[in-house]
């Protein structure tokens, strides 16, 4: 598959502004990141400690009540921001690292290497990923790092595709051809000339992958495959489900808030990612 060398300017003369969607996304992310960072200051109790009677309704001491073993739910959620966001960032880092490497190598080398790598990308996209993750998580055991690695290794296909298509248009630019004509080795050209050109797009992909990773982590934790020593928003919901919180009034303070936080984090990443993608690459503007 060869894409004709299009003379699409990589840097448009006038960039569109980030737009309200992008700013909303950034604001959500900033709020959640600050919460995670200042968790010890913000949370009223230690989330790992039994600080009251179990199954309490919200009160002045426990604004979101207590869980099945008397831990303060608000504190659990504030500390949960740390776990959920870290897993999102690290898994997305692995995914985009693999994706960018594959995308650059495939797009730059072309030929059979491109064909083979893109076949693998298509292949990964066909696999039902959550069942596969459940299988792997069940065998490897529930641990923080296993979850990060498993998500990272399975989410790289989309970034690889996007980066590759960008590489195809960068490859034919004058400065790359000049570098090759001067006798630079392929590896050097990829590292020095191609990588910097696709890095902004890779950043947008990183943010979108992080949004994906947070949702997946929540699903795994909800199925009881999360790390029992690292409480994320998903695992708070797991205990709420196991204790049937949604059958009593407790769902209002035990089920609703963690779900809203997961949604806020996912939306924050998604909005930022989409806006950034549109900002960096006018060709993918979605009319948002």
């Amino acid at each position: 598959m060869t894409v004709a060398a299009q003379s699409v300017p990589l840097v448009p003369s006038r960039r569109p502004a980030l737009g309200p969607v992008g700013w909303l996304g950034l604001a959500l992310l900033a709020a959640l990141t600050l919460t995670a960072f200042f968790a010890p200051v913000l949370s009223p109790h230690n989330p790992e400690e039994t600080v009251g009677d179990p199954f309490q309704a919200p009160s002045r001491a426990h604004p979101l009540g207590t869980n099945d073993i008397g831990q303060d739910i608000l504190s659990e959620l504030i500390y949960g921001a740390r776990i959920s966001l870290t897993i999102g960032f690290l898994a997305a880092g692995i995914a985009v690292g693999i994706g960018t490497t594959v995308g650059i190598v495939a797009g730059f080398l072309g030929g059979w290497a491109d064909a083979a790598l893109m076949r693998i990308v298509d292949l990964v996209l066909v696999i039902p990923f959550l069942p596969l993750m459940i299988l792997l998580a069940a065998y490897l055991g529930p641990s923080y790092w296993n979850i990060i690695i498993v998500i990272g290794v399975l989410v790289w296909a989309r970034p690889a595709r996007v980066v590759r298509s960008q590489v195809l248009s960068v490859k034919s630019l004058d400065y790359v051809e000049a570098a090759l004509a001067l006798g630079s080795r392929s590896a050097r050209v990829m590292l020095r000339h191609i990588l910097p050109a696709v890095l902004p797009l890779a950043l947008a992909q990183f943010i979108l992958a992080a949004s994906n990773a947070i949702l997946i982590e929540a699903s795994l934790s909800f199925l009881g495959l999360g790390d029992p020593t690292a409480k994320s928003w998903g695992s708070v919901l797991y205990y709420a489900q196991v204790r049937n919180a949604f059958l009593s009034g407790a769902w209002l303070w035990w089920v609703v808030p963690p779900g809203l936080l997961i949604t806020a984090a996912t939306l924050g990443f998604a909005f930022t990612g989409f806006a950034l993608e549109a900002y960096l690459n006018p060709r993918v503007r979605r009319g948002v």
Binding site: R119, D122, L123, L125, V126, I127, P128, F129, L130, P131, L132, I134, L135, A138, Y139, S211, L215, A218, S219, F222, L223, G224, L225, G234, L237, A240, Q241, F246, L247, S248, W251, V255, V256, P258, G259, I262, T263, T266, L267, A270, F271, R286, G287, V288
Partner: protein, 323 residues
């Protein structure tokens, strides 16, 4: 076209091969006896006779490559192994659950595609209007909502709160229903899981349809259609929507893998006795043979659905036929 199908076929075979190899290798790579992973954690309680049966079934006393061949042979004969925890063959357990998942997933996919395409077409038609911006916002929101959480909220409001729908299962336990009453009972059990799965699947279709419509509406044949005085509705229906639907067909395929994941979580929340719930139960009980069998069947189903979609594509898009 034949080259296209050959390429696709090779790719699906590869996915299948990968799944099978993973299923074969995982229990044997883990520390400790593979017996634990092949028979489940109750292996210690097995009768010597059952043990011998297991050894024979998996060929555990033979070299690895022979074991792999035995394993492939078993799969080819539909022999997925035996759950010692439940005391039942796995193929029978899966066969029992499969109809529930097919019903749930099939209906959700059709509903989501119809609703998503209709909303997307309308939104693009009124680009920038309040309908467009409103649906776009809601679609982004539902794409970010965890499906299991949506299910829990629906249960809390409509089942536990308003008592319009039952809380779990696929039929009322212990009720001897027949005929119309049985159909109604099943439909009431299906309603909430179906709503959950449909709601989280709509945004993908909606976004693609909207995007594709925007592109089509910029084409010259749309301007021509308008210029020759066709009513707006006719332009929309006959010229715009038909052409914009093509990418939706592609998303339909991609959705198959996505919805298999969504179904796993949704069935778990509603205790709906499908394949996804079986996978979850297997994880809970550390019933590894069932875990593997279920994963294998899910992969095979997704591949089968992909093949169907590939075969249908030339009928949807005549241009593919000529290639």
């Amino acid at each position: 076209m034949w080259r296209f199908f050959a390429g696709r076929g090779a790719q699906y075979l590869l996915v299948l091969g990968l799944t099978v190899t993973l299923n074969f290798a995982l229990p044997r790579m883990m520390p400790g006896s593979p017996m634990v992973f092949l028979a489940g954690e109750d292996v210690g309680f097995l009768e010597p006779q059952q043990r011998a049966q297991l050894y024979a079934l998996y060929g555990l006393d033979q070299p690895q490559w022979r074991q792999f061949l035995t394993y492939l042979g078993n799969l080819a004969r539909g022999e997925l192994g035996y759950s010692f925890q439940r005391g039942r063959p796995i193929a029978a357990m899966i066969g029992e659950r499969l109809p529930y998942t097919l019903l749930l997933v099939g209906l959700a996919l059709v509903l989501a595609t119809l609703i998503g395409a209709a909303l997307g077409a309308l939104a693009a038609w009124r680009r920038g209007g309040s309908f467009d911006l409103g649906t776009l916002g809601v679609a982004m929101l539902f794409e970010s909502v965890p499906s299991f959480w949506l299910g829990m909220i629906l249960i809390a409001v409509f089942a536990a709160g308003l008592k319009w729908f039952p809380i779990f299962g696929a039929v009322t336990a212990g009720a001897a229903l027949s005929g119309w009453a049985l159909v109604v009972d099943r439909a009431r059990h299906l309603a909430l899981p179906l709503a959950t799965l449909t709601l989280i699947t709509i945004p993908g279709t909606y976004l693609i349809m909207r995007y594709s419509m925007l592109a089509v509406l910029g084409e010259q044949y749309i301007a021509t259609a308008r210029a020759k005085g066709l009513a707006e509705r006719v332009v929309l229906r006959r010229h715009a929507v038909r052409n914009a639907l093509l990418p939706v067909a592609t998303v339909f395929m991609l959705n198959l893998g996505f919805i298999a994941s969504g179904a796993t979580v949704t069935e778990t929340v509603f205790s709906y006795p499908g394949i996804g719930r079986l996978l979850y139960e297997a994880v809970l009980n550390r019933d590894y043979p069932v875990l593997q069998g279920t994963f294998f069947i899910i992969t095979v189903s997704v591949i089968a659905a992909n093949i169907l979609a590939d075969l249908a594509y030339p009928f949807i898009d005549p241009r593919v036929r000529r290639r």
